[in-house]
Symmetry: C2
Subunit: 460 residues, 2 copies
């Protein structure tokens, strides 16, 4: 049977300010109505049934993944949590181990969660070929025919054609521009897509051969409960370095669908339609005499430009980036700079997601803070208490079940309730619709850390 | 006696998005702690007493001017209101007429309210010379020694030196770059500053000679009450075209203070300190490998740039401008474009000023709107009623006196009150400190025009 293993633990910073440390790229709706993770899952429809789709991610992203995959009816137990990120080899090894225990003949489609693919029909056809090849005990990788001499991708040099696949001679790291031009001219080079297809059993054999330390660790894991004690000792290493560059059983299936790893704002700009001056507008923007300008805007603010050339403008409620299109690789550096300056804009958006929904800080002033809070259907916040602040809640949509001291009251749309300082309280949405509340906090200290939790559905 | 006439009716759009149609440049705090209007008044301290400082503006700006000049103890009656803007000649003529009735020997210092001046000591010394010259019945203009071959200013060609002033040969319009270079080399050219000093009686004589129609109209005005019926018929014309280019009694006093009319973002950038890469940061910004970038930011949002060259970035809560530094004159065009598209960002800021204070729309959603409202000391809103919305008020600073139906209650900080749909209500600050309120509106229609006013201190 075919299984999918979606790698969703990445923490890249190259899409800042759209992505943040706590909300990485794979969870963002960058193109279209779905997040990149959701689009990855949707591309598998008809190919792998939801009950056989696994998502492996860092444990801090559990509730995010759970919320995002819910609509695809992927069971919660298929979300595999890493206590720490250890790069791709341990992640795919772990999934091979766990799925192999259920189905010794499992064929795994290993897919990054943050790539963009067009021509889904071709993608599925390619995967089917790859599965056939994997059944012959190959580690199969999908190779992308280069369309430009890109310096942003690793390359794979192929050899002769075998039955239905290409033999692999060599994996090559991201080249400089001269090398990239050489590779591009030579028809035997492919981009390394990071998508792999293999039998769980075959991968584990190769891990035993080339990563014996990892193999020993995986032997200690017989269920997800064993992960936390084993994981800290595991060495972080990628599939490419750890396995693919050494294995003698590699096969490449050439692909003829449009693919990009969306490795930078510049890469993203390639998949958007442009006007006749080469401008992209995603959001609310006006360009006057500008060319090659890409505006990506979250929120309603008007972004306007005059006479600007070849720039990426990425606008979010609390942070704006204006970046030369040749410099989008340096967004990483900017994020490092923010860290070193102890700023906070690299960490999270103004709208912060929580297991029960989300909140947005709308305004902070001396002695007060205003939040818009959204509680998902049938979710509740922890039973809690604040030392230094009182809270006024106005329900603007839905109905809230509120615990306030010993009282339990229903607060309906256009009603309000006051939670005094030091009073135990809990906010719950028992309905099938979202609940929206405006919270006005008052007090001398309004930090998120002024919270004492007594009971929490999310074990915080 | 000396009087000042400050021209504060301008409606320029070249500082969008910092300035808006309803909040033009002269009222903005662009540099330092004061608005440009306030800085203009402050420069007169010790030179003209507050009771002899007049501000002429459009009537729509009355409360704004009143609020801004209050701290300088300029009496309200010194704010002269034009029903319509008619350019500068009618404005200065009107002030000459009204002040001349009080003091037939009045010398008027006519000053634009939206310029920037450094070296205030020199400025005052120059004005004193100009006053001495005006007493000899000259129309005196201050000429600025050009420091660049600017195409942004009108020029004045001077002739011989007379007793303490320069004779004027000619007024010249904004030149092209070749002409500007010619003027700049020739030492007999000065920039036209738009600052004039003259006796009220002398100006009126010159108006009679060169603008007889205006003179006839002014004859009909014996008090401010006469303005509304006379003003509509008056022809709009500038002092330069209407009087200065024709009069034989012009004198120029050369000035040796730093002056700019702040005619564009580029002009503004000249008065700000730059780092060693030529970047300006006014607000919250991080520049990485950028040069010649000027960030002007209202609000707290982080503005970041990577590898950007020679751009103006002007950031406000609801609109952002990214403009090539060579194109700042085109901001006007952008504003025209917004008008033609029926947008609203050219009209007002998210924080809108009102005679009683200000409000900021923090968020709008289906069925609700959140505002932060600030009521100035001893001010109150109108007694009013809304057909379609209820209002929840949480006081976060100060104490509110609230009329709600037949009740009058004091609502203190950290208290709240609910105004149901259709109930007459009024909000008042009877204290000496500002009053801050978070308002959560709920209802099916939340437009500002859903208001029925029963009594209003501001006659709206």
């Amino acid at each position: 049977m075919n299984y999918a293993v979606i790698l969703a633990g990445g923490v890249g910073s190259r899409f800042w300010p759209f992505s943040r440390e706590l909300e990485p790229k794979q969870f963002m709706k960058i193109i279209g109505q779905h997040s990149l993770l959701q689009a990855t899952i949707q591309r598998l429809s008809g190919l792998v049934s939801p009950s056989r789709i696994y998502v492996i991610t860092n444990k801090i992203y559990f509730y995010e993944v759970k919320a995002q995959v819910a609509k695809f009816r992927i069971p919660d137990k298929n979300i595999i949590l890493e206590p720490q990120g250890k790069n791709t080899a341990p992640a795919v090894g772990l999934c091979a181990k766990l799925i192999g225990q259920i189905d010794p003949d499992a064929v795994l489609l290993v897919l990054p969660s943050d790539h963009y693919i067009k021509n889904v029909g071709n993608f599925k056809a390619t995967l089917k070929k790859a599965v056939a090849c994997a059944k012959n005990n190959f580690l199969v990788t999908l190779g992308i025919k280069p369309t430009t001499p890109s310096i942003g991708y690793g390359y794979i040099k192929v050899g002769k054609k075998s039955s239905g696949h290409l033999q692999v001679q060599k994996f090559l790291e991201k080249p400089d521009l001269n090398k990239a031009r050489e590779y591009f001219k030579d028809k035997s080079f492919y981009w390394n897509s990071g998508m792999f297809i293999w039998k769980a059993s075959v991968l584990l054999e190769e891990i035993r051969a080339y990563l014996p330390g990892l193999y020993s660790s995986l032997k200690l894991i017989n269920s997800v409960d064993d992960i936390p004690k084993v994981w800290p000792q595991i060495e972080a290493i990628s599939v490419d370095y750890g396995i693919m560059e050494h294995s003698k059983r590699i096969a490449l299936i050439p692909s003829n669908f449009y693919w990009t790893d969306l490795g930078s704002w510049e890469a993203l700009s390639e998949v958007f339609p442009k006007d006749r001056k080469g401008n992209i507008v995603s959001g609310n923007a006006l360009n006057l005499d500008s060319q090659g300008v890409c505006v990506f805007s979250m929120g309603n603010r008007l972004v306007s430009t005059i006479g600007i050339k070849d720039a990426i403008i990425a606008d979010t409620p609390d942070a704006l980036l204006v970046c030369n299109r040749d410099k989008t690789q340096d967004v990483k550096k900017l994020v490092e700079l923010m860290k070193s300056l102890n700023r906070k804009e690299h960490l999270a958006h103004l709208t912060e997601r929580r297991p029960w929904g989300s909140f947005t800080v709308l305004q902070q002033g001396v002695g007060f803070k205003i939040k818009l809070i959204e509680i998902a259907p049938h979710k509740r916040l922890s039973l809690q208490r604040h030392k230094n602040r009182a809270e006024h809640w106005v329900v603007v949509f839905g109905t809230a079940k509120v615990v306030s001291g010993h009282r339990v009251v229903l607060v309906r749309s256009n009603q309000s309730i006051y939670i005094s300082k030091g009073k135990k309280h809990r906010l719950e949405n028992t309905t099938d619709k979202p609940l929206r509340i405006v919270e006005v906090q008052t007090g001398s200290y309004l930090g998120e850390d002024d919270i004492e939790r007594f009971d929490d559905d999310f074990k915080r």
